[in-house]
Amino acid sequence: MSPVLEVRDLAVSFGTREGAVRAVDGVSLTVKRGEVLGLVGESGSGKSVTGLSIMGLIDAPGRITAGSIKFEGRELVGLPEKELRTLRGRRIAMIFQDPMTTLNPVLRVDTQMIEAIRAHEAVSEKAARDRAARALARVGIPSPEERLQSYPHQFSGGMRQRVAIAIALLHGPALLVADEPTTALDVTIQAQILAEVQQLCAETGTALVWVTHDLAVVAGLADRIAVMYAGRIVEDGPVDGVLDSPRHPYTAGLIGSVPSRNRRGSPLAQIPGMTPSLANLPPGCAFAPRCPRADAACRIEAPPLLAETGGRAFRCIHPLTAEGVAA
């Protein structure tokens, strides 16, 4: 099966006062039709920038400096804005972190849904309204016809995110990029929304890139996991393989800091140190200052991406062995 999304060696820079910051550096991702990819990493690792690049929504001072983003076989990097616009919202959709701010506070929900439909299809106002109501019903909003006439502030946070999800899925896109859409919500609603989105995407065959800083969120949901650190993918592979036997020390650290059934009762291992500033990354492996396995060799040059059998890859010259975290 041909992949829906194929990102190759993507690099995105932001011009800042301290010079160009490489927020994303050599990222490669592949997402197949209907697949769920969990994109995991600490805050500032470049997840949102990766998601926005796929949407073609990187603004100055940011710029895609290298790489390719192929979507349904079509190259998006360098595609004219007009053509990107016909894809956005129709074939690729995105939802964002804060449901309180993603909907326009002064426009009614029906306005915001109908315009999204009519941006891509020449349908009557009436037909668009009916479709909007059905979309709200699908994401579990009760009495959708009435709710269409509400303003965003009349919904709770969870309901607002559901409205955003309903809008994103209006045209049955091939890919949905969900940028930490549940982070701002409380835990029970997070789990519900997660399950619902997965269900909806499965119904329409929509591939899902679920961005999160919380490994536990995607553990039960994703088919594959890509772990980002300082603008790079440091480990990528099928979810079970990566969680059972991480090869990169950073992935192992993330797993160690998740409360899990196997290690209940023992204190959580935290990864020591802080996320490095992208403006002055250390030479060699960016994780070296925090890595328990680091040695002099790690500080010479950035480790290349090493591919393994089973569709796995990692960037580490002293990887953990297949025996898992203990090794």
Partner: protein, 325 residues
């Protein structure tokens, strides 16, 4: 809502009462109208007679009590000069001033919002910088000077527009208006533009700041992610949001516009309330001065109230919280 309404009404009445007292007492202390009104070689007896006729011989508190009593009956005194009710004279002149202020308001919005949004969308472009420089000029050049320069250029040099007066009027619902005749409009252009310039500069700044802020908001990003066209995003999503602060500020400034009209009307010999005020100050025609100032106070109070209502209508979040309280 009703409670809110009554509370506002009470506040308004209090403001009007306090302002009335301040205005009356301070006007009482300025000059002696009898000196201006009386024949230069009138003797003391004649002067006393005039003072008696105008009620100026009574002590301040009696004059004030009479003023309040009459004011409550809708009578703000008679003009010493025209011997007509002061309120009537002012109301006769009011349509001209309101017309001028409205025209200026429209001009400032028509200039300010597009330019401000352009500057907000491309703040670092030549255009964006140019517009901001222009708005600084709009803020700092004095009103009367702009008026004089416009007269020099368009009336004296180019002879395109008249230099003063109100021009031809037609009567609509008993009110003479000039914006419905070509001649009236030609007379309105320069004074309206002069009066609008300062507000236009203000609107540019508000629109620019609002646009810059709105463009960074998640809702704009989400609107783009939906595949909306830039024109839809700017003209609906951004414009609707920036209109909230702009309407509020402009509404509050509308009273100021009426007050500022004094200068513009004088420069353009425009027969509005402002010109009447300046003339009356020169003649120490106290009832007109007092009536004018009371009028302006009432206009301010009414405007503040209307602005609150408009604000609630524009911002759905305000509407709901008000019902809740």
């Amino acid at each position: 809502m009703l409670v809110y309404f009554i509370r506002r009404l009470g506040q308004a009445a209090l403001v009007v009462a306090v302002m009335g007292a301040i205005v009356f007492v301070s006007i009482y202390m300025v000059g002696n109208p009898v000196d201006v009104l009386a024949n230069p070689n009138a003797d003391a007896k004649e002067m006393a007679e005039i003072a008696g006729r105008l009620g100026l011989d009574k002590p301040l508190h009696e004059q004030f009590a009479l003023f309040v009593w009459n004011a409550l009956h809708g009578d703000l005194g008679r003009s010493f000069v025209f011997n007509e009710p002061a309120l009537k004279l002012i109301i006769q002149r009011m349509p001209a001033t309101l017309e001028l202020a409205f025209a200026a308001l429209i001009v400032s919005v028509l200039i300010g919002i597009p330019l401000g949004m352009l500057a907000g969308l491309w703040p670092h472009s030549v255009w964006g910088r140019g517009i901001m420089t222009g708005s600084i000029l709009g803020f700092s050049l004095p009103n009367f000077w702009i008026g004089l320069m416009l007269i020099l250029l368009f009336a004296v040099q180019l002879r395109w527009l008249p230099s003063g007066g109100r021009g031809e009027t037609v009567t609509v619902l008993g009110v003479p208006v000039s914006f419905l005749t070509v001649d009236g409009l030609r007379h309105l252009v320069l004074p309206a533009f002069t009066l609008a310039l300062y507000k236009a500069a203000l609107v540019i700044r508000l629109a620019r700041a609002g646009t810059r802020e709105a463009m960074l908001q998640d809702y704009v990003r989400f609107a783009r992610a939906k595949g909306l066209s830039p024109s839809r995003i700017i003209l609906v999503h951004v414009l609707k949001n920036i209109m909230i602060p702009i309407t509020t500020v402009l509404g509050l400034e509308f009273g100021g516009m009426i007050a500022f009209a004094v200068v513009t009307e004088t420069v353009f010999a425009y027969p509005g309330m402002g010109k009447l005020l300046i003339d009356s100050i020169g003649r120490l025609d106290r009832p007109i001065i007092v009536a004018y100032l009371m009028m302006v106070v009432v206009v301010f109070v009414v405007i503040n109230f209307v602005v609150d209502l408009i604000y609630a209508a524009l911002d759905p979040r305000v509407r709901l919280s008000e019902q809740g309280s």
